[in-house]
């Protein structure tokens, strides 16, 4: 049944969506949307390095994304810059480095558009195997660290005090993100991965009453977006990757309509989540 390119596209896309949904919830909860962007930009550097050293692209992308995540964790600890400035720094440096490295390799001619927007209609059986095996591993690890990771998302200090080892959970989460970027880059492309992570999760937020429920809903909504987007792309001859994102956006817009919305995202100003005590007056 996997002989048909369209079926392969659906199987691969649904696989990515099932993994991206739950991870995307953490991206939304932790306000890391820009982090997803940064990782996917860094993925391009991974592609360039893969060509340079002639290694597997998925592995190279995972390696570079993992390095960028860990660099971010380290910089956050020591540097005096805010997280978003650091992300901007890493993001655009990695993107520019990737393009420069590619330019040096005059003998390599790659379809940049393919990596930027993905080529889901060209997935092979091998790609599907990587997506489903890798995706299963990612979800299994996520399930294993779910409680500490969620506790650390609610409040890092509380998690630390009560023995949840939030630092370890954070590192594992960063590595899972790198893995998802690596396995989904070929499907939806560097620029659209963030959308696949965030839009289904944002849609699920409107209906979910608990974190686990939201993760499952996001996975389902993502899968529905893939199926809808691919059929739309077939029907109207539109590019597959962007069509999936547009479908996801359509579901989100539907969820905002008054009929469906329970007014879940209302009012409150974004507040600083961490609790810093007033230290100004101490000796």
């Amino acid at each position: 049944m996997l002989d048909d390119f369209f079926t392969r596209a659906i199987v691969a896309g649904v696989g990515v969506a099932l993994v991206a949904g739950p991870l995307g919830c953490f991206i939304v909860w932790r306000r890391l949307a820009y982090f997803g962007d940064t990782l996917s930009h860094a993925a391009l550097l991974g592609v360039a390095l893969a060509f340079l050293f002639e290694v597997n692209i998925t592995l190279a992308v995972f390696g570079v994304s993992a390095c960028v995540s860990l660099a971010l964790l380290l910089l956050q600890k020591r540097a005096t810059l805010s997280a978003d400035a650091l992300l901007g720094l890493l993001s655009h440096s990695a993107l520019a480095l990737g393009l420069v490295v590619l330019a040096f390799m005059t003998w390599v001619r790659i379809d940049l558009m393919g990596f930027l927007f993905g080529d889901i209609l060209a997935v092979s059986k091998m790609d599907i195997a990587i997506i489903w095996l890798g995706g299963t591993v990612v979800l299994a690890v996520l399930a294993a660290v779910w409680r500490p990771l969620f506790a650390a998302t609610v409040n890092r200090e509380l998690a630390e005090a009560e023995g949840m080892k939030p630092e370890r959970a954070n590192i594992i989460f960063m590595l899972l993100m790198a893995a998802v970027i690596a396995i989904s880059m070929k499907i939806v492309g560097v620029l659209l991965i963030t959308a696949m992570l965030i839009i289904p999760a944002a849609t699920a937020r409107r209906f979910a009453s608990g974190p686990e429920q939201m993760a499952l809903m996001a996975a389902g909504i993502g899968a529905a977006s893939v199926v809808g987007g691919l059929f739309g792309s077939l029907e109207w001859d539109t590019p597959a990757g962007p069509s999936i994102v547009v479908t996801a956006l359509g579901l989100f817009v539907l969820s905002v309509l008054p009929t469906f919305s329970r007014g879940a995202v209302r009012g409150k100003e974004p507040e600083k989540r961490t609790t810093e005590i007033q230290k100004e007056n101490s000796p």
Binding site: V28, W29, R31, R147, F150, A151, T153, V154, N155, E157, L158, A159, E160, A161, E162, G163, M164, R205, A208, S209, G210, P211, Q213, M214, A264, V265, G267, K268, P270, E271, K272, R273, T275, I277, Q278, K279, E280, N281, S282, P283
Partner: protein, 285 residues
């Protein structure tokens, strides 16, 4: 005497330094099972910082912290803002850092008076309600060490007394050690075994022997509540200047505190009752 072998947690001359400034320094005390230790002191005196050291959230830059291995800790932070993007009900919040049975969760919520909020989303709670929920969550963990950073903020007066009674009862029933923080220099529990006053360092410590004898307290809290409240007051005879130097009562300025500074101990020196401890309310500390 500070290094009892059975202590849950021991701070030994611990200090935290940030950006070239000591937030708190030379803190030494320990907490035993079944003991309530209260930290008091003005804003910025290092109460929360000290609690975070005891909890292991902050690593001391000087001195040492020893915690009993496998100590089950429950923590009620001073401030916890649940991001509005998080779908989190009170029921789910109760299980945040460990499995809690339905019965345990229900009993704890009943004890702090929030049973009716089980299905409510955490971010819709009022300050006082959320404070009670956080306390319920901590209790349900059946902790060995319970750390409460301003646990009654936002709670109304009658609720405040009930919660202090509850904290005392938890100590008696679970027999855990409790580290309690209060910025209120005047009201601490009679059940407190030890009060430690911080002002960037341990200013003084001892049992809160001066009980609420003042008419204002009885009037404010009622005769029944009065025995659960104690008055603990003293004047700081020196103040810490922004640059780290110390201005003393006589106006002189030195680089460090003198050993005898700020020690208007209640039991120390014995037989020399301090005129400040007549039960009046001082707001200058």
């Amino acid at each position: 005497m500070l290094k009892k072998p059975e202590a849950l947690v021991t701070l030994d001359n611990a200090g935290i330094r940030r950006a070239g400034r000591w937030l708190v320094r030379g803190v030494a005390f320990s907490i035993d099972s079944g003991e309530i230790v209260t930290l008091i002191g003005p804003n910025g005196s290092g109460k929360s910082t000290t609690a975070k050291m005891a909890l292991g959230i902050l690593k001391p830059d000087e001195g040492a912290i020893r915690r009993r291995p496998d100590l089950n800790v429950a923590y009620v932070p001073q401030k916890l803002v649940v991001d509005w993007t998080l779908p989190l009900t009170v029921q789910r919040f109760m299980r945040l850092t460990g499995q809690v049975s339905v019965d345990e969760a229900r009993d704890a919520m009943a004890a702090t008076g929030v049973s009716h909020l089980a299905m409510a989303e955490v971010r819709t709670l009022s300050g006082g309600e959320f404070q009670r929920v956080m306390l319920a969550r901590a209790i349900a963990r059946k902790p060995g060490l319970l750390v409460l950073d301003e646990p009654v903020q936002g709670v109304d007066f009658t609720g405040e007394i009930a919660l202090y009674d509850l904290i005392k009862r938890i100590r008696d029933e679970v027999h855990c050690g409790i580290l309690l923080i209060s910025h209120d220099l005047h009201v601490v529990m009679a059940a407190t075994d030890r009060v430690i006053c911080l002002n960037g360092h341990v200013c003084c410590s001892g049992t809160p022997t001066v009980v609420a004898s003042s008419p204002e307290y009885k009037e404010l809290f009622g005769a029944r509540a009065a025995p659960t409240l104690a008055v603990y007051e003293h004047h700081h005879d020196h103040s810490h200047l922004p640059d780290g130097r110390v201005r003393h009562g006589d106006g002189s300025i030195t680089d460090h505190c003198h050993p005898e500074d700020g020690h208007h101990h209640h039991e120390n020196p014995p037989g020399e009752p301090h005129p400040d401890h007549a039960g009046e309310r001082n707001h200058d500390a």
